[in-house]
């Protein structure tokens, strides 16, 4: 069985029990700037199955204006986009590499990101501190143990429409959607 996919979330709440100070990789201001500036997002471990979390995220990002580049060695096309076997194989510049893989796969992905992407975003439960530090040393921005869909919805989207906590406090008038 190929190691394609840690699409499923781990059997625990995000961030709990890892023993790592995850807040170092979850700064709200940095996340907001990244979401605002990014245009192209490679989703590593994107599943073609509609009910998988990775598909929810890829689908959502595409609907919200990002160019989504699927990375999955077992598929040729997902979400109507050409699917690449690895980050190294992608033929265009990428802003964010969004990772839905088991933590053990992260170090290899980090090396592939060097020179190809501006940031690496590790989803809920995809926690690998050494790889995150290596990514930083390579000049990549790192977000870890956060969901890109949820964070987009929190900062730029509609998370609050479902009564979820955004922690956003502002007296400024938002742009009309």
């Amino acid at each position: 069985m190929s190691s394609v996919i840690a699409c499923e979330l781990p059997p625990r709440a995000p961030g709990s029990g890892s023993g790592i100070d995850l807040t170092r990789y979850q700064d709200a201001g940095a996340i907001r700037r990244l979401l605002t500036s990014a245009r192209t997002v490679a989703v590593v471990g994107l599943s073609p199955k509609e009910l998988r979390a990775s598909y929810f995220v890829g689908f959502y990002l595409r609907r919200n204006g990002y160019r989504v580049v699927p990375v999955n060695p077992r598929e040729t096309e997902i979400l109507g986009e050409k699917c690449y076997p690895s980050v190294a194989a992608i033929e265009e510049p990428v802003d964010v590499v969004n990772v839905f893989r088991a933590p053990a796969a992260v170090p290899g992905i980090v090396e592939e990101c060097a020179g190809r992407a501006k940031a690496i975003w590790l989803q809920y439960g995809v926690i690998h501190e050494e790889a995150a530090e290596r990514a930083r040393a390579l000049g990549l921005e790192v977000v870890m143990d956060r969901c890109m869909k949820v964070e987009h919805a929190r900062h730029l989207g509609r998370l609050h429409w479902l009564g979820f906590t955004t922690r956003r406090i502002t007296a400024k008038r938002p742009e009309t959607p």
Partner: protein, 451 residues
């Protein structure tokens, strides 16, 4: 271009700021600063793909006000923020909120351990749901965490208590009871109506679900019925004991809520399935009033609790009064728990027993002019009631004792009026009871109110 949000990402805003602002940003189309009342049943879709994405839960989009409404959502986020939860789902009443939480967490054959000192309406609801939905409940004296532990069975799936018991004033040892719950792989759900997030935030002490009757202090003005469920996002619903939440849902083409939505799994299930199916949604107008009420929650609770303590101390010193069950009074057996969990005050609802029993209680209530005799608590106005003949009348004598109530128990909800006026009113009532003969075994009131 509008001005952008500036510098707010990293600021830890205080409670009072969040009470006023959380959930309510200016409305983008009109600039309206107060949250508009979106009195609409439904919402026009941008295009067919958007509609499909909303119904598949792939995108956050409004579909129908039974399950989501922007005014209600503003209120939900405000309460979730103040309680420290990941989110909240509002319901038409506090009892509807509780029923929604039970319905989401439990399956037929499951077992619940619950405090026996719960609000009478809650006890009645639980016993009714037990029969209708096929789960079983063991009621325990909530004051000793060991009692909770002893009641656990292999099929136990939920612990349920009140932060401050109604009307006995029991203070729950949240941390200890949450530990017992988690040792057994089940969540602790707490009705925190009497505390409000200003006095205590149970999620910070390990509770997993908080429910409120927002009808009370959260609304604060006795004008609307509502309830809300807040969840921490921390409980591992996929630990094997909750197939109703973790397993694929036939109603959403096999979608597994916990695996797909992670920390939002329980609340998504609560909204997209339970609220959809039970239909007991909060109205946008009520949500507007509740969100408005929350803006002054810290100010009101400070006054409520200060007034209540002053009134309790007055009553405790009166010869007509047998006992005063305010957990904040010096010498209360709950003093250590109040110091730990309720440092800002032990609430504004408490009961006391008149020496004269049932007859004295009736006379007392008749004599009051500022306190309103009615079946509610948590109004800006001071309220009074006789539980044995009203809120708790469905309970038999044993259950009544279990809930800490005697025939002469009077429950007060102390408002935000001038405390001197409240004491003036109560003093007149107490003096009138001195003229009443004591209860006999078979007095008229007892026959009229056998339960």
């Amino acid at each position: 271009m509008n001005e952008k949000e500036v510098g707010a990402e990293t600021r830890e805003f205080g409670f009072a700021t969040r009470a006023v602002h959380a959930g309510a940003r200016p409305e983008p189309y009109t600039g309206a600063r107060a949250t508009p009342i979106f009195q609409t049943t439904s919402y026009v879709f941008e295009d067919p793909e958007a509609a499909a994405a909303y119904f598949n839960l792939q995108e956050y989009g409004n579909t129908y006000s039974r399950i989501m409404n922007p005014t209600v959502a503003a209120f939900e986020e405000r309460i979730a923020n103040l309680e420290g939860g990941v989110g909240a789902v509002a319901f038409a009443s506090g009892l509807a909120a509780q029923a929604g939480a039970f319905f989401t967490a439990l399956q037929p054959g499951d077992h619940v351990v619950a405090s026996r000192a719960l609000y009478g309406g809650t006890l009645t609801q639980i016993k009714h749901l037990e029969r209708k939905l096929g789960f079983e409940v063991t009621f325990v004296d909530p004051d000793r965490p060991g009692n909770w532990k002893e009641a656990v069975r292999p099929e136990t799936r939920l612990f349920f208590g009140e932060t401050i018991g109604n009307p006995g004033g029991n203070v729950l040892d949240l941390e200890a009871v949450a530990d017992v719950a988690h040792d057994n792989g089940v969540p602790l759900m707490v009705d925190s109506t009497f505390a409000t997030p200003w006095l205590c935030r149970p999620l910070e002490w390990g509770a997993d679900i908080v429910v409120h009757s927002t009808t009370k202090f959260i609304g604060g003005h006795g004008n609307s019925i509502g309830g809300v469920v807040v969840e921490s996002g921390r409980f591992p619903w996929d630990n094997g004991k909750f197939p109703g939440i973790a397993d694929p849902s036939p109603a959403y083409h096999g979608l597994a809520f916990q695996a797909t939505f992670g920390e939002y799994g329980f609340l998504m299930k609560l909204r997209a399935e339970t609220l959809r199916d039970l239909g007991a949604c909060m109205s946008p107008f009520n949500a507007f009033l509740f969100a408005l009420g929350v803006e002054t929650l810290p100010l009101r609770m400070e006054r409520h609790t200060a007034n209540a303590l002053e009134v309790a101390a007055f009553l405790a010193a009166r010869p007509e009064v047998e006992t005063v069950a305010h957990p904040g009074l010096p010498g209360s057996r709950y003093a250590p728990l109040v110091a730990k969990y309720l440092p800002r005050g032990a609430g504004a609802v408490f009961s006391f027993d008149l020496k004269g029993g049932r007859r004295a209680g009736t006379r007392f209530i008749r004599e009051l002019n500022v306190f309103s005799h009615l079946a509610n608590v948590g109004d800006a106005k001071s309220l009074v009631i006789h539980p044995a003949s009203t809120t708790h009348r469905q309970l038999n004598d044993e259950e009544l004792r279990g809930a800490g109530i005697s025939p002469g128990t009077i429950r007060l909800s102390v408002g935000i009026e001038d405390p001197g006026d409240l004491i003036w009113d109560l003093k007149r009532g107490l003096e009138a009871t001195a003229a009443e003969p004591a209860d006999e075994e078979s007095n008229e009131e007892a026959v009229a109110c056998p339960r």
